[in-house]
Amino acid sequence: MSKLSPEASSLHEATFANAKGSEGVKSYAQQELMKLSGIQEPGELIRIVQELVQHQLFRTLKAERTLYWAPRSKEVAASLSNLDNDERLIYEAIENSETTGIWLKRLKQNTGVAPGNVNKIIKKLESSQLIKSIKSVKSPAQRIYMLFHLAPAEDVTGGSFFDSGDLDEGLVEELGNLIVFHVRSQSWVEVKPTRSRHDRNTSPVDVDAEDGGKAGTKRKRDSTTGDDAAAPNKRRQPEPVITQVAFPAGSRGYPTADSIHSFITNSNAIRESKAASITIREVQEILNVLVWDEKLEKVGNGYRTVMGVKFRPPGSYDADGIEEIVGNGLTEAPCGRCPVFDLCAPGGPINAGNCVYFEQWLKA
């Protein structure tokens, strides 16, 4: 092959330098090439471009009847000129799939290269570091190939929460905990746990001779006016301990997705490279999950932790993570968890009388 002309070489360098730094594949239409090269004569430009294409330094793309050209690196071009036709077909098909990658099966279908050959070619291209195999979150079972020097697109990797195609649940968990920790500190005024401020039993009012220990307040309303309204529970259980006090309604200091995002990227609880890659959208995804988990609740534009929600000190490991769940009448009754629930009927072989689950439950 003839040597590259200086004009062609300078155009390649200009485009290659220009494309550097931009993500993915950058391509140029005629107008842009004219600007970059300073060549105003279309015939002249076409000649140069053709020369570059021949040298594998440009590849041609077509979109909506317009042609575009994308530069390749000199090294790649050099290896390409050593490929045979089939190999080049395969390479170009992979190259055209850009940062999404292409599925092996599709590759076989689209190129028309004999299937037996494809595997061999793939192996060769892989070993010469022209292509690589990647894993897509969307279809983890498929073998997908992409140019070696490209980074897979976010919808292929799944974003920051994915580690080579697998959801990094540990990371999600850690981030969730970190967010709860952060949000909680700004949601409630924490108060030193302490007993209710007075003990009713010692209150003189409760000893109401007329009424046998009923809270006097209610008595008053009842008998004076015949009022029919509810009064607070009269025989009180000890009052719940107050540990969290709400900010007045209308407070707007609650963290938002934005502020939480900047907290995460600036905190050093998460690996720096990871933290940097996390987007606001991804933070929002975790926030949604935390709301569904009833760890956070929305207030205005921000979030606050649901009262009483706990968090692990960030960085520590879950030691006593078992949160106590209170069920309802259904789930706490033996029948609510019964494996033969649908078979159980009075008079049938399985019935409430001979039921072993009840036996255990009553003994418990």
């Binding site: 046998g212 004076t224 900010f247 569904w292 769940i325 789930t331």
Partner: protein, 668 residues
């Protein structure tokens, strides 16, 4: 009708009214409306007619069966589902009323429940007052008193005046009026015993005759008109049937009007801080009397309203703490008398906004009257100053306010009740306003919360509050479902359920992505929930051949279906608990029989009441040997455990079926 519900109802009926009644009820429940002849031919061939008649009469007396006689004078009987299921709630009903209107009122209701329905005269007869209207009895067996753990001790026999006992006829009337006004008791008319379907027919015919003499209601316009007329006549009948102080009380015209009442109450409330009622009870019973021939019965719908309030308060407490929940309780207490029933089937709303508009409102003043004066409102909101006067530390010596060291640093003081009402009371205007202000702040917290516990309907500045019951009832349903899912399938499943409720239909991968879970984990959860009926999936073929392998599966959460599922499982749970109780009881039969005999021979022994199997009051305790007492205690424990479970299951039923008022499975 679900067979589980029939099981529950017949179980309860058999317990209270015996086997024949149960058979009749079950036959009616399974066959719908039936005449006496068919009834006998159907299920009860061997039972003598007289027995059937007695049992039927008893069922009608207790409003478990309704009847209707048509033009050909055939009488049809059909079951009253609400009445029958309501038997399960009698104990709870009594407790709810006790907490609202006091022990004496609860005692009266307990009695009405035992009799079924009755006239005012009958009820007075039970009390056996002398000519002066004072009680002749020295014991209070009729007015059971509850203590904390659901046991009722009616210890009596003492000669002195028992405060728990209704002392005079005037007092009884006073209490009855109070109960009627609050809606816990209701006036019963002839129509109260008819099946709703027949009443509806009757109304339809009447409207037809009057407004559409040509007998045609074709076309949408005429149909709408017909519907309107039917609804307005229904409303009229209902309003006519309702208790009204003006109409139903002898000499009702010169009654104190409610407005005046409120003023008086407010003054008293403002003046007395610790609610010591200084006047005595007898002073107030001089009100008018109810006619002796008025029929009364317990209004179960109103009890549902009260139950709903309790659930909402608990829900609010979970999210905002007990102080804010205390204010919420007060708001609900104000609204409760203004809510007739959870069911507003006679009004049709075009949309949810309109429905909300129709909900009653409460002013912050009214709410303030109902807020527990002991509630430390300031402790619930950061930065709020206490409404109690003399908040500064220097006041320590002047007023009996003590500082708890633990509270010192958050500026909350420990209040000690003072005998001197003047010092401790909200005597100054400023502290009164301060209190209103704090109450309002709590209301705003409730309003601000994602669940919108309450709202301000009016223009800004006007402090009126409303609770959107229809929406919140749905919130409670969701919460109950989520609890069930949580316990059965774990927290990840709750995440999936909530997510799908919000996002609609999604493919497996979409579910995993939104929930930030591995696809394989999600797949397991989805399959598990689907098998249990908690999730649905829909097949969407990708090509015209509809190959299953090439189809897409969209997952979604069918709220209505799941709610029904949970409801029916709760019914079945209740039925099983009750059935198990029968079996357990047999084990203790000997000792129970002995107690029975002892009781019969020794009527003077101290008696006590417990809330029995189905929540009705039962008597317990009699002289027995140590071992026997242990046995009895063991039985009690078993019973207690099963009953608690039944009560909790009933909570699930109430949430799933009753609170929204939209349930149609129990119409008679």
């Amino acid at each position: 009708m679900s067979s589980q519900l029939i099981e529950v109802c017949s179980q309860v009926i058999s317990y209270h009214y015996g086997e024949t009644s149960r058979q009749i009820f079950e036959a009616l429940a399974r066959n719908g409306r039936t005449t006496l002849e068919t009834l006998k031919a159907l299920k009860l061939r061997k039972t003598p007619l007289s027995r059937i008649k007695t049992s039927l009469a008893q069922l009608i007396q207790h409003r478990l069966v309704r009847h209707h006689t048509d033009d050909r004078s055939d009488t049809y009987y059909s079951v009253d589902w609400h009445g029958a299921y309501g038997l399960l709630r009698t104990g709870r009903t009594i407790l709810l009323i006790e907490s609202r209107l006091g022990e004496k009122a609860a005692g009266v209701v307990a009695m009405v429940l035992q009799i079924g329905h009755c006239t005012v005269g009958d009820l007075a007869g039970v009390f056996d007052f002398d000519e002066n209207g004072l009680s002749k009895r020295s014991n209070g067996a009729d007015t059971p008193v509850q203590n904390g753990n659901g046991q009722v001790n009616g210890d009596h026999g003492s000669g002195h005046h028992d405060p728990k006992q209704i002392g005079s006829l005037a007092e009884l009337h006073h209490i009855l009026r109070k109960l009627l006004r609050a809606g816990f008791l209701m006036k019963l008319g002839l129509r109260s015993f008819k099946p709703n379907a027949d009443i509806e027919d009757e109304i339809g015919t009447l409207v037809m005759e009057e407004n559409f003499p040509d007998g045609k209601i074709t076309g949408p316009k005429k149909q709408a008109e017909f519907k309107r007329s039917v609804d307005s006549l229904k409303r009229k009948w209902r309003d006519d049937a309702e208790y009204s102080e003006r109409r139903d009380v002898e000499g009702g015209a010169n009654l104190v009007r409610p407005g005046m009442d409120a003023n008086k109450r407010q003054k008293l409330n403002g003046g007395l801080a610790n609610g010591h009622s200084s006047h005595n009870d007898e002073a107030d019973f001089s009100g008018p009397k109810l006619p002796n021939d008025m029929s009364i019965g317990v209004n179960l719908d109103k009890c549902v309203v009260a139950m709903r309030s309790e659930h909402l308060v608990n829900h609010a407490q979970h999210y905002l703490g007990h102080i804010t929940a205390g204010v919420y309780r007060a708001l609900l207490s104000v609204l409760e008398p203004k809510v007739r029933s959870v069911r507003e089937d006679l009004v049709h709303y075009d949309d949810e906004d309109e429905e909300e508009e129709a909900q009653p409102v409460a002013s912050v003043m009214e709410i303030a009257e109902h807020v527990d004066p002991y509630l430390d409102l300031a402790a619930g909101i950061s930065g709020a100053k206490s409404h109690l006067p003399n908040g500064g530390p220097k006041a320590k010596r002047k007023v009996s306010i003590e500082y708890d060291n633990d509270f010192g640093d958050i500026g909350v003081k420990k209040e000690v009740d003072s005998d001197d009402e003047g010092t401790n009371g909200y005597s100054s205007m400023r502290s009164k306003n301060r209190r209103l202000d704090l109450i309002e702040q709590h209301l705003k917290l409730l309003e601000e919360h994602d669940k919108e516990f309450c709202r301000r309907p009016g223009a800004a500045g006007q402090s009126e509050w409303r609770v959107n019951f229809p929406v919140l009832s749905k919130t409670l349903v969701d919460a109950e479902i989520d609890t069930t899912i949580d316990r059965r399938f774990g927290p990840a499943a709750v995440r999936v359920a909530r997510m799908l409720r919000q996002e609609g239909k999604l493919e497996e991968k979409g579910v995993a992505q939104k929930c930030l879970k591995q696809v394989k984990d999600i797949r397991a959860i989805l399959a598990q929930m689907q098998a249990a009926g908690f999730l649905e999936s829909q097949e969407v073929p990708k090509d015209q051949y509809r190959q299953p392998t090439r189809s897409l599966y969209l997952w979604f959460f069918d709220k209505k279906k799941v709610a029904q599922l949970v409801l029916h499982q709760a019914y079945q749970g209740i039925a099983r608990c009750l059935q198990r109780m029968d079996v357990e009881q047999e084990k203790f039969q000997q000792i129970l029989d002995k107690r029975e005999r002892l009781r019969a021979t020794n009527p003077d022994a101290a008696r006590s009441f417990i809330i029995g199997k189905t929540g009705m009051l039962e008597e317990g305790g009699a002289p027995l040997s140590g071992v026997e007492k242990q046995q009895l205690a063991l039985w009690r424990e078993t019973q207690e455990k099963l009953l608690t479970q039944v009560r909790r299951l009933d909570d699930v039923v109430a949430v799933m079926r009753d609170f929204t008022g939209k349930d149609v499975t129990m119409t008679t």
